[in-house]
């Protein structure tokens, strides 16, 4: 995301090389900086993405994934034992 100098309420966002000017008037007061991720809806930025929260949510998912793989592995072993 890059903030356009001439229009403080507009920012240029980039999603996988696709760029669009976005109105960031609804994030007034937020501390926006280039590199931030924002949620866009019908041309307006609605929310700034909280990287810490994102990380903790993903960590949770990872942990479940890991636990699951451990279980699967355990299950396989037990099956081999049985077989």
């Amino acid at each position: 995301m890059e903030i356009l100098s001439d229009r403080p309420d507009l920012a240029k966002v980039d999603v996988s090389g696709v760029r669009r000017a976005i109105n960031i008037g609804l994030l007034e007061g937020e501390d926006l900086a280039p590199g931030d991720w924002i949620l866009i809806h019908v041309g307006f930025a609605l929310s700034k993405i909280d990287e810490a929260e994102a990380k903790s949510a993903l960590d949770f998912l990872e942990s479940i994934g890991q636990a699951y793989e451990d279980e699967i592995a355990a299950l396989r072993e037990s099956m081999i034992e049985q077989g």
Binding site: G25, G43, L46, S47, A57, F60, G65
Partner: protein, 375 residues
């Protein structure tokens, strides 16, 4: 793509699915309603139900903004669009929504100038570029889009663009959820809360659901793992014997919402005493209208609109589907008289509509499809 691909991972889905299955009490079934049409779309687009155990059913709620617009309002919009010198602008979703006199596409074929936009700002731009026309933006949506509409009106005012107005059909989510909860024929175990709406209103307004109705609600994001995780969180609450509002989507949704957005809405709009919801009938304080102070931008005040109420087609069971009482395929006309090509009800139009999503993405019995795609 960041914040997208990592939430579409099949392995993580399988792991979460295993947890979900493990959380289900044997012999018990669970029904969760995803309030938001965006979730309905996610569920079908990614085949999310394939990861759910048979005991868990998802019920599609009234959160598709297109699906709740009553036929009378569509006719009103067309009647405005057909005035000479008017350019009506609208999100693409509205193009095929049937009113009593056909759809926007039909009106265009008859001569109305209706243009698709992706943002109300595009409509304002059209107004700027066509000073000799009256440009009307058909505003629809929940609190997610209402701030954009309000911001656009403020901008029109500050720029002095006199040929722009808004035909306001914004609705609010809480009265709709309340109406659902109050309907007698409903059995729900919990809610998947609307992510985008909550970005604006925050999580506090849902408190009454846990407090007064004893149901859990988990605000969820729109990637399939988000939704799956919110099912998981609902089940965890139930397993632990507690009900609460939780925020699965904390990376985007602040607990207190977006105060600026709420302020902007409040500046430009005020609640309507009553508003008709397709299939649900009139719900008090469930919609927004433009305030007197912004009358110059209010299409309802500028144009004399017929304002007639059009009864839903006899065969239409959208109300039951929107309340989650019927599954889409249980509607008598589903897939025969009512198809995405020839929708009778609005739920068959938008890809967020439960019937359309089910018809387009999941029409066939899940088992048969699963069998066919087994590698």
């Amino acid at each position: 793509m960041r914040f997208v691909d990592e939430y579409r991972d099949a392995d993580k889905a399988r792991a979460l699915a295993a947890r979900i299955a493990a959380l289900c009490e044997p012999g018990r079934t669970y029904k969760f309603m995803e309030v938001c049409g965006g979730h309905t779309h996610t569920i079908y687009k990614h085949g999310l139900e394939d990861h759910l155990p048979p005991a868990v059913t998802l019920v599609h709620g009234p959160g598709c903004p297109v699906c709740v617009i009553p036929m009378g309002r569509v006719d009103d919009a067309i009647s405005i669009a057909e005035r000479p010198g008017v350019i009506m602008t609208s999100f693409g979703d509205m193009m095929r929504v049937p009113g009593g006199r056909g759809t926007f596409l039909d009106a265009m074929a008859r001569g109305a100038d209706i243009r698709m936009v992706y943002s109300p700002l595009d409509a304002l731009k059209i107004a700027r570029e066509n000073p000799d026309k009256k440009v009307v933006f058909l505003a629809i949506g929940f609190e997610t889009t209402a701030p954009s509409t309000a911001m656009t009106v403020l901008r029109a005012k500050s720029e002095g663009i006199a040929n722009f107005s808004v035909f306001c059909n914004h609705v609010t989510i809480i009265p709709a959820i309340k109406a659902i909860l109050d309907s007698p024929d409903l059995r729900l175990d919990g809610f998947i809360g609307p992510g985008h709406v909550s970005t604006v209103i925050g999580c506090r307004p849902y408190a009454f659901i846990a407090r007064d109705y004893g149901k859990p609600l988990v605000v969820a994001g729109f990637e399939p793992l988000d939704v799956l995780q919110s099912v998981y969180q609902n089940l965890v609450q139930l397993a632990e014997g507690r009900v609460a509002v939780e925020n699965q989507y904390a990376r985007v949704v602040p607990w207190d919402g977006n105060p600026k957005a709420l302020a902007v809405i409040n500046e430009v709009m005020e609640p309507r005493p009553h508003f008709e919801w397709r299939g649900l009938g009139f719900i008090s304080d469930s919609a927004l209208r433009v305030r007197e102070a912004y009358a110059a931008f209010d299409a309802e005040r500028i144009f004399q609109i017929p304002g007639g109420r059009v009864a839903d087609p006899q065969a239409c069971q959208c109300g039951e589907v929107l309340k989650g009482v019927l599954k889409p395929w249980e509607c008598k006309v589903f897939g025969t008289a009512c198809t995405p090509e020839t929708p009778i009800g609005t739920c068959m139009v938008s890809s967020e509509g439960a019937c359309a999503a089910y018809y387009n993405f999941g029409r066939f019995s899940r088992d048969r499809v699963k069998e066919a795609t087994r590698t």
